[in-house]
Structure formats: structure tokens, C-alpha cells
Symmetry: C2
Subunit: 485 residues, 2 copies
């Protein structure tokens, strides 16, 4: 037998678990961002694969020597970059079980449990987030776990193309399709449009409402009307709830109302913010979604579930299989032909799929909905504290309205509003160079902006407090430098 003996796996598995426990316990002492140059990792490792077995201990040694010092530590309590990618230890337990079972959930018949546990959980989360019951399997729709919001957007677009043209599967796209987004929409929508063969020309960037970053329903209506008059076909409108740059919220209800007049598919990208609906006080993030065709939010960002676990619901359970199903002989089986089961391969591009529902199950089992709410609430409260500190400090200003647990800020210098962005850039670079926190940036109205995305599973008040002290100190140094210059 090639594989490890189960008893040997027991011993080595315990060692790996202990390594992970030690890594997570010591994470706060590591620099968030590695100090390595391109090529350093490659230079550390032998080019040729080993001819003989080397043992797990040697592998753990290499992970300590090469991988840890060259990793950006996304689970670090000082990680405030991008959006969080919660890989809670709860979810790891479920993911380990998934690996242990090693089943393929492509068809119901290739693992009924993998399929139906996913259905139960997605129905359960639809209810927990306050989504329209039409998004549950009982309601005629249904949910699935996608690898990412990017893939979710792509399959939603494919379903929209299929619904928009019964001839699409045979003839492909015809060049008249149009997709409506804003300048703040995630780049995955532009990527989906490209992948689907529509070309960038199909992307209509709708103007925001005046003084806002959110899509203007009026501008959307005008753009759709003009396109239709020109013989073009609106196929998808994508409002975002919580844009990546600043957390802006497009008005889903109004946008959907406009889109529905033309029978256009509405896909809501709530990748980061949607999970906040687990708290009744943030349920407004799903407002208007009873009017849309698909809704996506990532359990792997802020809902404690290790990547990949993007939750996608559609109002019509036949929409994705209609667009994506192709059945060769070797996949035919009685259960599929009975029509009584869901074959999740038809809800996604890849054929194979892991039992991803187990890690989501482990999270909700380990914490309960109550624990999920505390997690989200805690970070929103910390963001509110930070917002307050920024408002009260003349050295800083908010660069966009705070949104849930995302705060966008800029430095205000004695010379004015940091006209060339240099003070804001320098402050970000100083904080990142410290190794105790990681921030990333965006650009709003042409201005460089620091994003503080609070949401790492380990982040508590002390870490946000320490970050604020660092920001102030860096801003003082920059201002002092300016004064001396």
C-alpha cells in the first residue's frame, strides 16, 4: 500500500495539528508582511523533486524555514488589508473531515451527502440572512457553494445569457449583449464579461448618483433605454452591496426595479458585506434582494469559513443547469435522470467538487448563529470606534462614508489636504513597514486612500487601538518632516 498507514497518519496528523495550533498562537508576534524579495523562496528550495521519501518532520522544517518567513499572514490580528479571509480553526476541522472523506460531489449519485448537506446549509443560511424564501430549494430556487465570487458572477452571467437567448448554447453570443456595472464594481465582473466572450465593449459603466459612489438608478434607466433603442440587449445588471474600494452600497431595490422592466437578470455582488445580514440590525444589506435573480456573499471573507466558500443563491433552480449542463454517457445515472436530485456540477464550470459544505457546517455548529453575529458585530463596533477617532483627529479625514467594518481614511497635513497624496502614501508605507499591521489602499475620486478592513478572525479592540496609535504616530512623523523641510 502506497499511502500512509492510518496509525502513522494519526501520529503525523497530530503533529500537523500541533504545528497549526502553535502557528496560530504565535501569529501576533510575526511580521504581517514578509520581508522577502522576488525569487527568495525559489532560491531556498531544491529545483529537482526528491527521489526518495523525506518524512513529514523535514517538510515541517521547510515550512518553518521558508514558507512562514515568506508568507503574508492573513490570519494575523493586525491584518487590515483587502478584505479579511477568515480561516477559522472551526472551519479547519470541517475541512479536514472533507479531505478525510475524499468524496467527489459532482453528481448527487457520486455522493448524496455532499450534495444534500450543501442544500440544507444553503437553505438554512438563506433563512439566517433573511433572503426571500424563493431562493431556497423549497421555494423553487436554491443555493450552492462556489469557489469565489468571481466564479459566481461568471455563472450568473451565463445563466443570464441563456435566459436572454434560447439560442445562446448553440450559437454563442452575438455582440449585442450589454452588462451594467459601476466604476466601483469588482473587477471580476469585467473578467466574467471577457471570459464569456462579450468583450469589454459590452460593459456599460453606469454613472453614480451625484455626490456618491453608488449606482444611479436614473442613469441606469437611461443607459438601458438608449442601448435598447440602439438594438442592443441588456443581459445583466450587477449592483454591489459593499464595494471593494470603499464599501459603497448600490440601491438594489431601485436598480432591480429598473432592470426588471426589461426582463434583465440582476445579480447582487455582496461578496464581503452580505454575511452581515446574519445580524438583524444589518439586515438592510439584503434589502431589495427579493427582486433579484441571484445573490452572492462569501463565507470565506468575513464568515469564518476557510477559502473557498462563496455562497450563491438563484431564484430559479433550473437557471444554472439550463446554462451549464452537458451530459456525456459516462456521467449518466438513474438518480440524475429521475429529476429528483440536484447535480451541483451543473451549477459551476468545473466538473469535480470537494465537500465544501462540511467546513461551513463546522463553523455554524461550532459557534451557532449567535457566535456568527457576535463576530460580525464586534468588528462593526471596532470600525465605529476607529471612525470616531478619525473624525475627532485633525490629522485625518474620512475618505468615504464608513461601511460596516471598512473605514477609508486620508491624512490631513498642516499644508492642507495632502494635495499630492504623499503624506497618505507615506503613512501607509510606514505602518506596513512596522510589521505589526497590514493596510492596503484604493483610489477615490482620483485620490489615494488608506483602507482599514477590520475582520480578521483574531482582531480585537487592542489591535485596532494599536493600529490607530501607529497611524497617528506615522502622521505626526510625516507632518514633522514636512515642517522641517
Amino acid at each position: 500500500m502506497t499511502d500512509l498507514d492510518p496509525d502513522e497518519f494519526r501520529r503525523l496528523g497530530h503533529a500537523v495539528v500541533d504545528w497549526i495550533a502553535g502557528y496560530r498562537a504565535g501569529l501576533g508576534d510575526l511580521p504581517v508582511r514578509p520581508e522577502v524579495e522576488p525569487g527568495w523562496v525559489r532560491a531556498q528550495l531544491p529545483a529537482a523533486l526528491p527521489e526518495e521519501p523525506g518524512g513529514l518532520e523535514a517538510l515541517l522544517g521547510e515550512v518553518d524555514r521558508v514558507v512562514v518567513p515568506a508568507s503574508t499572514h492573513w490570519q494575523h490580528p493586525g491584518f487590515f488589508g483587502y478584505f479579511p479571509a477568515n480561516a477559522s480553526l472551526h472551519s479547519l476541522l470541517g475541512d479536514m473531515l472533507s479531505g478525510g472523506l475524499g468524496v467527489q460531489g459532482m453528481l448527487w449519485s457520486t455522493s448524496p451527502a455532499a450534495t444534500e448537506v450543501e442544500q440544507v446549509l444553503l437553505d438554512g443560511f438563506a433563512d439566517a440572512l433573511g433572503l426571500d424564501p424563493a431562493f431556497t430549494f423549497a421555494g423553487g430556487g436554491g443555493g450552492s457553494i462556489q469557489d469565489s465570487a468571481s466564479s459566481a458572477a461568471l455563472v450568473a452571467l451565463l445563466a443570464a445569457l441563456h435566459r436572454g437567448s434560447p439560442d445562446w448554447r448553440e450559437s454563442g453570443v452575438d455582440g449585442t449583449e450589454r452588462v451594467y456595472v459601476t466604476a466601483e464594481t469588482h473587477s471580476s465582473l469585467a473578467k466574467a464579461v471577457r471570459v464569456a466572450g462579450l468583450g469589454a465593449k459590452a460593459l456599460r459603466v453606469v454613472d453614480p448618483a451625484p455626490g456618491s459612489l453608488a449606482m444611479s438608478p436614473t442613469a441606469l434607466a437611461a443607459a438601458m433605454k438608449a442601448d435598447i433603442a440602439a438594438g442592443l440587449r441588456p443581459v445583466l445588471v450587477c449592483p454591489t452591496v459593499g464595494t471593494t474600494g470603499t464599501g459603497a452600497i448600490d440601491p438594489v431595490r431601485e436598480v432591480a426595479t429598473v432592470a426588471r422592466e426589461h426582463g434583465t437578470w440582476v445579480h447582487v455582488d455582496a461578496a464581503w458585506a452580505g454575511v452581515a445580514a446574519v445580524c438583524p440590525e444589518f439586515r438592510w444589506v439584503v434589502d431589495g434582494t427579493e427582486l433579484v435573480d441571484s445573490f452572492c456573499t462569501d463565507a470565506h471573507k468575513w464568515l469564518l469559513t476557510a477559502f473557498d466558500a462563496s455562497l450563491l443563491w438563484v431564484r430559479d433552480a433550473d437557471a444554472l443547469p439550463g446554462a451549464l449542463s452537458i451530459t456525456p454517457e459516462y456521467l449518466r445515472n438513474a438518480a440524475s435522470e429521475s429529476g429528483a436530485v440536484v447535480d451541483y456540477r451543473d451549477w459551476q464550470v468545473p466538473l469535480g467538487r470537494r465537500f465544501r459544505a462540511l467546513k461551513l457546517w463546522a463553523v455554524v455548529q461550532g459557534l451557532g448563529l449567535r457566535g456568527l453575529r457576535e463576530h460580525v458585530r464586534g468588528h462593526v463596533a471596532l470600525a465605529a470606534d476607529l471612525t470616531e477617532w478619525v473624525r475627532e483627529d485633525p490629522a485625518f479625514e474620512l475618505a468615504a462614508p464608513p461601511s460596516l467594518a471598512l473605514v477609508c481614511l486620508r491624512v490631513v497635513t498642516g499644508r492642507g489636504a495632502d494635495a499630492d497624496d504623499s503624506a497618505t502614501r507615506t503613512v501607509l508605507e510606514r505602518v506596513n513597514a512596522s510589521g505589526t499591521a497590514l493596510l492596503t489602499h484604493t483610489v477615490v475620486d482620483g485620490r489615494y486612500v488608506i483602507r482599514v478592513a477590520i475582520g480578521s478572525v483574531a482582531t480585537g479592540p487592542e489591535h485596532v487601538g494599536a493600529l490607530w496609535a501607529q497611524l497617528r504616530s506615522a502622521a505626526e512623523d510625516v507632518e514633522g518632516g514636512n515642517r522641517c523641510a
Copy 2:
């Protein structure tokens, strides 16, 4: 803190490791295929998510009570269906580390180690499989880990579309594109063609060589010539090394020679069979690939690495980023702009990505190349035994030439060659109903065929011997039934 305390994770993680060890040790005693009806799992579980935490022990109890009895056990030694989906315990150790680190490898800068370890391993495997050095990063190409061969085929097609038309990113597809496959090509190619907006009309099913299931280079040349004369544009040719139905091998060298005359992208789908090239005696599976543009083989099928780990190499390291890259402000960083790093997000559709290289590393570290060769060789030898038994037994016939570790067979009845396929169907159903083995089928030349795909990580001579005894016994029963009828 919301998450498990590391010490608590240590305790629970050990329990999960022990559960997995017990599951794998007892796997041979479980029925391979579950005896559940659609809806059984859903009916077992509460519809609502728990409000309060429930603990890991309760989750393991549910897994034992509901998941295990309703799972098809892909790691079972009697699993001979589809293709194997090796999730070796070695690979699990690496996957656990990946979850523990919880990094996002979308950009080099978001985790240099995740990127560069993948580069080192893919270069190393290119060498171990005997691929042209042009497929390594040192040679100007490079490899990446995709989620599946389906996604690999899709991104190869997108790269081909981009290379074929500099205007594709802006204008999309134009309806003149053509893609060349055979009737035996995996359905993922048809799916990729659909996803990319080409429509089924773009798919040219090239005839096989007479008396074979493999693509005829002559027929390919004629089809391409006719299409070009009609103003159409060949964009991709996909020869398969080891088709899903029967393991047929398209003549890559001859096919590529034809395609190159027209500058058409050649993508080799060797999802199952390609890894056999790790053995010098099977290196012929990569013959001719020095003439192609991309090559894909799945480490998660027969190379011991838990799903998902599809290895895709391209000859031109700029091909996938050229087709797929879109850079919004919030992803800009100095390392990417230096051009000195690989950002793997540009090699795939999803933005996020796990540190998948760790599970592949754990496999090669745990077994060495020597162990990988023994694994593959052992299964090929078992298939040779089975082939011999089939040849010598008048109750069976080979339904296609055996290919590596895949044997396709049919029942021969006293009444002749099982004219209506009923005996062959019945034998498959009886074996599957026994619970000790799982077989799946295909259709060859309109005839129902039993596929025996040997390759589960736990399958040894005793399991193939037992399967053969079962097949013979079932065939005798069927023949006896026919005689009495």
C-alpha cells in the same frame, strides 16, 4: 475572541485526525455505494441552523449518522468507477497546513511563498514527467495548479482566443472561431466552448482514424482546411491522452503538426493519464507535447493529491495573464508592477486561491518520485492481470484496447455477443449492488461497456481479484438465467 483557542483546537484537531484514521482503516468494510434515496439526508437534518454552539463531538456524531451512510466512498479499495480521485493521507497533511496558514495566493505580494512554492513544484513536475523544458518558468513558460481539468481547458481556450485575435478582449468573439475535438473528448471542452460564448456550433467533432477511437490527423487537416476556406478561424485543437470513456490516446505529435500549420493553439487534455509519465516506461504519454501550447494532467486523479490539483503548463508564461489580467487599483502593488513576479490570479478565472501546492509538496515529500512510480506501476500491473483474465474467459470480451490502468469489458453470452447489452448492464448492476465494488459504464460504438478504472489509493491485488470473481459470478448467474428463460 470568536475562534477556537489554539489549545482547544489541538484537542479537537486530534479528535478529527483520529476520526479520519478510523474512517480510512474501516473503509473496506463499508458499502462503496450508499443505499439512500434522494431526500434522505435532507430529511435527517434540522432545516434551521443552530442558534447556539453544538460542539465538535455532536458534529462527528452527525457525520457518522448521516454523512457516512450517504456517501459514495471514493477512497474505498473497491472503487473502480469514473477515474480515481486519490486523496492520500500524505496529501491531507499538506492540505491541513494550507488551511492552517490560511493565506490567499492571488498575488505574489499576498503570499510570496504560496506563489513560489507552486512555481518550484510545477517546474519540478515538468521535469519529472519529461515535459519539454519550454514548459518551465526557466524556459519561458510555466505551470499552475488549477481546480480542475475543466477550468484548465477553459483558460487554455481563452489564451487561444486572445492569441488568435488581439481584439478579443475588447470586442469579444465574432462567431467564426472553431475548436477541434473528437466524440471521445471530455465534455469539459464542449462546456468551455459554451462558457466562452462560442456556442456549440463552434465545436468540430473530428472523425477518428478507421477502426480506432483516436483523432485522425488526416480528418483534422481536412476539417481545418475546409473551415479556413469557408472564412472560419481555427482557434484550438484538443487532443486527449487517455479519454474518459476508454482511455484512447489521440496522436498528439501528428495532430500538433497539422494544427501548427495554421498557428492554432494545441491543448493536450491528459487529465487522467498524464501523470503516468512519472514512470520512464510510460513516458510515451507525453510524446509530441514539445509541439503543443498547453498540457494538463490532474494530480487529484491518480497522483495521490486530494482534489483540487489540476496541473496546467503553458509554453508562454504571458499567455494566460495576457488573456485574463484586469487590474483595479486595490490590487496594484510594487512587486506586480516590477514584472519580476508571477501573480497566479491572472492564470485562472477566480481571484482568490488556496495554497494548493502544499498538498502536492506533502505527497512528493512523503513518497518521493520512487513512491509515485510504484503507485502508478502497481495499478497498471493490476490492469494487465485483469486484461489477461478477460482475454482468457469466454464469458467476457475487451470492449476497447486496455489503456494503462483502465480496462473496458463486456459480457459475452451463450446466445452471442449480448446483442441488447442487457447481460452487461445486469452484471454491472449486480456488482454495484453488492457494495464491495463500484463500477461505472460508458458507450462505445453504440454498445454499453463496463469500465474498470483501477487507481484508488487503497486498491491492491486482492481487490482486483475479488472484483474479477464477482464479475465472473454475476456473468454466470446472468447466463444461467438466460438458459432457464
